[in-house]
Amino acid sequence: MCLAIPGKVLDIYNENGLKMGRIDYAGTVNKACLEYVPEITQGQYAIVHAGFAISIIDEQEAQKTYAVWEELVESAAAEGTDIFGIPLENPPSDVRKGKKS
């Protein structure tokens, strides 16, 4: 019931006095009410629930989280394996030389 999905605002218009927008969900386009995200602009991504945008996705926060995760994956790569423990085909040079830290 609380399902909400990200979509990109294609354009913004007014309908019966309400701020509305056309939203692109990976190719499927539908409209949503934008009254609860009054500052939203064309091209931004929003989380949409049952025809209403309820939050503008914070690009900076998304990047911050993702950077932490990338570090986790890189730390596995530094050990010469992928995260499943399978040896990498092209491990980092210091691992090849047996300098695994």
């Binding site: 009410c33 989380i47 309820i54 989280t65 995260i83 499943f84």
Partner: protein, 383 residues
């Protein structure tokens, strides 16, 4: 799709899982509140990938599931009336009342329509002035702003033929009811990301402090959920009980202010009965007096209906995290998604329906084995 695929990355998921395994030293019972998270956990097999120390139990966060049988019967009574266009989200249509469901009412000639947004129901009211258009307003805090906007819009347009049948419930009172139960097993909560998108997470701080239970607001993709679990386990192992926000790309501390303001203007807090659990004080919403001309219960003058739940259904215990769907003798036998006995099988977001959809009834042996493993961990911890 941007903001989806990166949160389904198996490499990152596996790495976080390794971190959880390295961090957990004691047995912890964690509850995800939201049915959307339950669905994602079971679909992705997250519960089966976790180390034996971590047990996930499934919370009451499926509004379709917890809508009382009496409210479904009221919907059926209204929908059967000839002057009514009854509108609802699709997931309510197959929820059985005591005798039938909305699909059956439709097959008998009732004008029952699925809408994508409550504003679509307002449009129907605008386009059909000779009909009474009713929207079945079921949901948590996530959905309340949408229904508030529909009422506000109908009210300012003077659409007296638009009403809602309200069955709104609120998450924090239910979390508190579970924690204050003497039977409580929950050590930490994964908070419902989209409820918090509206409400923020300030109201969870007193709960975390009072019950010494950490709460991590989490998203819905596998990596979100795993990171939320890791944050909970880190807190529990360190003896902390804070509120943290894993879903920071969407959830802000204060939530969505315009949405909260309109909900406050249209609705007031009331006591609500939760299917499978019973009445919880101040756990629901009702229309304020100024908007009661849009209250379907008053318009159709529905009396109190009292209905008994099937005796062999344990959904109340499942919703409280005390039992798992596979612990029920009826699960997958007399209780099926096509013919559900109780709350947690009626919606795809219910724990029983999720277990059934992903064939957990065929893994009962494995579940018993992991229960034994958990017991062994608990014994080891005690000794």
């Amino acid at each position: 799709m941007k903001y989806l695929e990166e949160y389904r990355n198996p490499q990152i998921a596996k790495r976080i899982l390794d971190e959880i395994k390295a961090t957990a030293t004691k047995p912890w019972v964690l509850m995800e509140i939201c049915g959307g998270q339950t669905h994602s956990i079971v679909k992705n097999g997250i519960d089966q990938l976790l180390p034996a120390e971590i047990e996930l139990v499934h919370g009451p966060g499926c509004p379709v599931c917890v809508t009382p049988l009496e409210q479904i019967d009221k919907a059926l009574e209204i929908a059967a009336q000839s002057e009514v266009i009854f509108t609802s989200f699709g997931d309510m249509l197959r929820v059985p009342g005591s005798e039938k469901d909305l699909f059956m009412v439709k097959s008998e000639g009732g004008d029952v329509r699925v809408v994508y947004s409550p504003l679509d129901a307002v449009k129907l009211a605008r386009d059909n002035p000779d009909k009474k258009v009713v929207f079945f307003a079921v949901g948590f805090e996530t959905t309340a702003p949408n229904n508030a906007m529909a009422v506000w819009q109908a009210h300012r347009e003077g659409l007296k033929n638009f009403s809602i049948l309200v069955s709104h419930v609120l998450v924090p009172p239910a979390m508190e009811a579970l924690l204050s139960s003497p039977l409580n097993r929950v050590n930490g909560y994964l908070g419902a990301g989209h409820v918090c998108t509206i409400m923020g997470w300030e109201e969870y701080r007193p709960i975390a402090a009072k019950y010494k239970t950490p709460i991590v607001v989490a998203g819905f993709e596998p990596v979100d959920i795993l990171e939320g679990i890791l944050m909970l386990v880190r807190q529990l192992e360190a003896g902390e009980a804070k509120v943290e926000n894993q879903y920071s790309r969407v959830v802000h501390r204060q939530g969505n202010r315009p949405a909260r303001e309109l909900v406050e203007r249209i609705f007031e807090v009331t006591n609500r009965k939760w299917r499978g659990i019973g009445e919880i004080k101040s756990s629901g919403l009702a229309l304020r007096a100024a908007y009661r001309e849009h209250d379907a219960e008053l318009i159709f003058n529905l009396g109190e209906i009292s209905v008994e739940e099937p005796a062999d259904c344990i959904s109340g215990l499942v919703l409280q995290g005390l039992k798992k769907p596979v612990d029920c003798a009826a699960f997958g036998k007399t209780c099926l998604p096509q013919s559900p006995l109780g709350a947690t099988m009626v919606s795809s977001e219910g724990a029983c329906a999720a277990y059934y959809a992903y064939s957990r009834h065929t893994f009962q042996q494995k579940n018993r084995a992991s229960a034994k493993k958990r017991e062994a961990v608990a014994e080891r911890d005690l000794s």
